[in-house]
């Protein structure tokens, strides 16, 4: 029956409908998670090729210029040593040469502060890739920056289009990751995978809390001299605990049966994940780039908060040994680390926001005091804002 129906259905829709369906599916895919990752990556790669094409030539010209300057200095030195000064007077010769070299050094410093002074072309593919990524993630290291006017205009346009795209990526991937993380947390950390264990544990926890409540009430009773009002509260308290005990089993069943997306991941876990990710990156980069652990974690923190000073950038250490392939690998590693890390932080904010909202709700239900509500609400707003900004 079902087969027959499906066959008929396949025949039914006319071409326009099918095309529309395909179109819809395609757009859904494009805006879904895989599509958005692809889009970001492709956009970055396209950007890197564009920047190479625009800036690469200019960089070559610049290195030639610096070479020319070096040759000029050598010529000047030759002049000094052959014609101007007495060659056999060492101190005067050294003074003259010192002055020339100082001037040369100033030029190098100026060049190096403007861009790369080492004379190598920074616009290799991985360098340009990292540059495009830092533009759309708004990190902006600034170790490579465009020199030509066309490059600057392109950067502005590229940023204006790229940043919303990256925000879309962050919100989508953050959502998906938060959902999957919650599922994993529910299955693994709370042992929801095997219902027996979970049930026993939940029961134990309930019993403990109930006992605590009862003990507290007893203490209250003993402390307060017997007034009729307190006795009435005691009675009401006992009655509630009694009902709780009968309800426990049903409650536990309900909790275990509940969907994983109702589980709330504690705030400390999120913070621990972020710290763990930063430390992981720190050890990775300190191994790879021969930085200290402090420098590595500083780099990771500055990058993931999208501050991006650019004083410590991967690839500089290896650049001196001029092993091109290793530099490329370290650039790519950095790019992947950044893309993952941004999504992870978005996930953490997603989870944290949920938890704070949940807490707020429980407070509202628990105490009707308006003061509590007011004192808490700025905190919640801040969390919201954090998430929004991210």
């Amino acid at each position: 029956m079902t087969l027959k129906r499906s066959v008929r259905r396949r025949q039914k829709p006319p071409f326009a409908q099918r095309a529309k369906d395909q179109c819809r599916k395609f757009t859904a895919f494009m805006f879904s998670n895989v599509g958005i990752i692809m889009l970001v990556v492709i956009y970055t790669i396209a950007g890197s090729f564009m920047f190479i094409a625009i800036e690469g030539k200019e960089a070559m010209v610049r290195t030639e210029k610096s070479n020319k300057e070096k040759n000029l200095l050598a010529l000047k030195l030759w002049n000094i040593s052959c014609c101007v000064s007495n060659v056999f007077n060492e101190s005067s010769y050294r003074n003259l040469v010192d002055r020339e070299i100082l001037a040369f050094q100033r030029k190098i410093v100026k060049q190096a502060q403007k861009g790369s002074g080492s004379g190598e072309n920074p616009w290799s593919f991985p360098g340009a890739f990292l540059y495009s990524l830092t533009v759309i993630t708004t990190i902006g290291y600034g170790n490579i920056s465009p020199r030509t006017s066309l490059g600057k205009i392109t950067t502005i346009l590229y940023a204006i289009i790229g940043m919303p795209l990256f925000l879309l990526y962050l919100s989508n991937i953050g959502d998906v990751m938060a959902k999957s993380f919650k599922w994993i947390y529910a299955k693994v950390c709370l042992c929801r995978i095997c219902p027996g264990v979970a049930k026993r544990r939940l029961l134990r926890e309930r019993r403990k809390t109930l006992e605590m409540i009862r003990r507290q009430e007893l203490e209250d009773l003993s402390s307060s001299s017997g007034i009729s009002r307190s006795s009435s509260t005691k009675i009401s308290g006992e009655s509630t605990t009694g009902t709780n005990f009968t309800d426990v089993d049903i409650d536990v069943e309900a909790v275990i049966q509940a969907e994983p997306h109702t589980v709330i991941v504690p705030l400390t876990t999120c913070v621990m994940i972020m710290i763990g990710y930063i430390l992981c990156g720190a050890t990775l980069f300190s191994r790879w780039e021969a930085w200290g652990v402090l420098d590595g974690s500083y780099f990771c923190f500055i990058s993931l908060t999208s501050i991006g000073f650019g004083d410590i950038v991967p690839g500089t250490q290896v650049l001196r040994n001029s092993k091109e392939s290793i530099v490329e690998v370290s650039f790519i590693l950095c790019a992947v680390y950044l893309l993952l890390g941004m999504a992870l932080i978005a996930m953490c904010f997603n989870l944290m926001q949920e938890q704070v909202i949940h807490k707020l709700r429980s407070i509202k239900q628990g105490g009707t005091d308006e003061d509590v509500d007011i004192s808490v609400s700025p905190g919640r707003n801040r969390e919201d804002r954090d998430r929004n900004a991210v």
Partner: protein
């Protein structure tokens, strides 16, 4: 728990014998009110703005005190390096045949090349040809703090010491949430004022007769949605102002100036153009006023961006809703047409 109970107890007592207890109750409430007002004020735009400024000033002093303690040895190192290279040149000149120019030039070129590499590596390790006191002037430190918590990160000034790096991390952890609070507060308030302004202009310029004809006298306050083009105009005007200002002050070209403004307001902050880098031909007071104005420019610009974000989000929301409704109508229409085409017998299957 017990506290709440006691509170409820006092409240019930108050209800029983209100006249005797009310004065104390009122005093407490007053204090509470005061506290609440204070907190509310701190959460308003003025309070948050003041907080931000105070935080950045405190941070500036902290960074100055931390970073100027260490005397930078790299300047001396570079001087020593230069002297040693001069010596090497001398030795080479002594060794070589003086009258063979090409060979001499070749040797010199090698030496100079290695010198250049060493200097550029020294620069990468933080050689700046300036002492820490010169680098960490108060306005510069203020700019540094701003670039941390707004997440711009120009990177023209960076901490060199371990303590400075640690302090930066801690400063960012507390500064960024504070800044985000400021961002949203000022965004909201600016969006509100802008909306009112826009409405005024809209009503002034718009022909009112149609509305009056339709509504008959009283016009209800209908929700005016500010179009995103207006936001874009405001932003581009702000950038334009900044462009002219910076181009005049820093003697940049207009393109560089636009580039700087856009990268700053987008929080990218490349750091290849930074205001205040043109230090050498200015007096100190003019530098400081310039940096202060830069500070205000960036903070206000961020507020404007927040405003546009607020307004545009609203518009996008409305547009999305409209689009959804359109889509629904479209689908409905499509389904009706299908049922018309395929006859009534397939109706159930179309329902699935």
């Amino acid at each position: 728990m017990s506290l709440r109970r006691s509170k409820s107890l006092t409240r019930s007592q108050g209800s029983l014998a209100s006249s005797s207890i009310r004065p104390r109750h009122d005093a407490r409430r007053q204090v509470k009110d005061c506290c609440r007002k204070f907190v509310a004020f701190m959460c308003t735009q003025v309070g948050v703005g003041a907080l931000i400024v105070a935080y950045s000033i405190i941070g500036a002093f902290c960074f100055i005190s931390v970073e100027t303690q260490v005397n930078n040895t790299t300047t001396d190192d570079v001087a020593i390096l230069r002297r040693s290279y001069a010596l090497e040149l001398w030795e080479k000149t002594e060794h070589l045949n003086m009258f063979n120019k090409t060979e001499w030039m070749f040797e010199m070129d090698d030496v100079l090349k290695s010198f250049q590499d060493e200097v550029s590596s020294a620069i990468k390790n933080g050689f700046d040809a300036r002492t820490p006191e010169e680098i960490w002037s108060f306005p510069a430190a203020l700019m540094y703090c701003l670039s941390i918590f707004t997440m711009i990160g120009y990177g023209n000034i960076v901490p060199k010491t371990q303590w400075g790096k640690g302090l930066t991390v801690i400063y960012a952890t507390f500064g960024i949430p504070l800044y985000i609070l400021y961002f949203l507060n000022i965004g909201k308030i600016l969006a509100k004022t802008f909306k009112i302004l826009y409405r005024c202009i809209h009503e002034c310029t718009h022909d009112k007769t149609e509305d009056i004809l339709e509504q008959g006298g009283y016009i209800p306050q209908k929700k005016v949605i500010v179009p995103s083009t207006a936001c874009l105009w405001v932003i581009s005007f702000y950038i334009f102002t900044g462009t002219i200002m910076f181009a005049n002050w820093e003697r940049w070209s207009y393109l560089d100036s636009v580039y700087f403004c856009v990268t700053s307001l987008c929080k990218i902050g490349m750091g290849d153009f930074v205001p205040g880098a043109n230090f050498y031909n200015d007096s100190i007071t003019s530098q400081q006023t310039k940096l202060a104005i830069n500070f205000v420019y960036v903070l206000l610009g961020m507020g404007l961006v927040a405003m546009c974000y607020n307004l545009m989000r609203e518009e996008v929301k409305v547009k999305l809703k409209e689009m959804k409704e359109d889509l629904k109508l479209c689908l409905e229409d499509l389904r009706n047409r299908f049922t018309g085409i395929c006859g009534s017998e397939d109706y159930e299957e179309e329902e699935w």
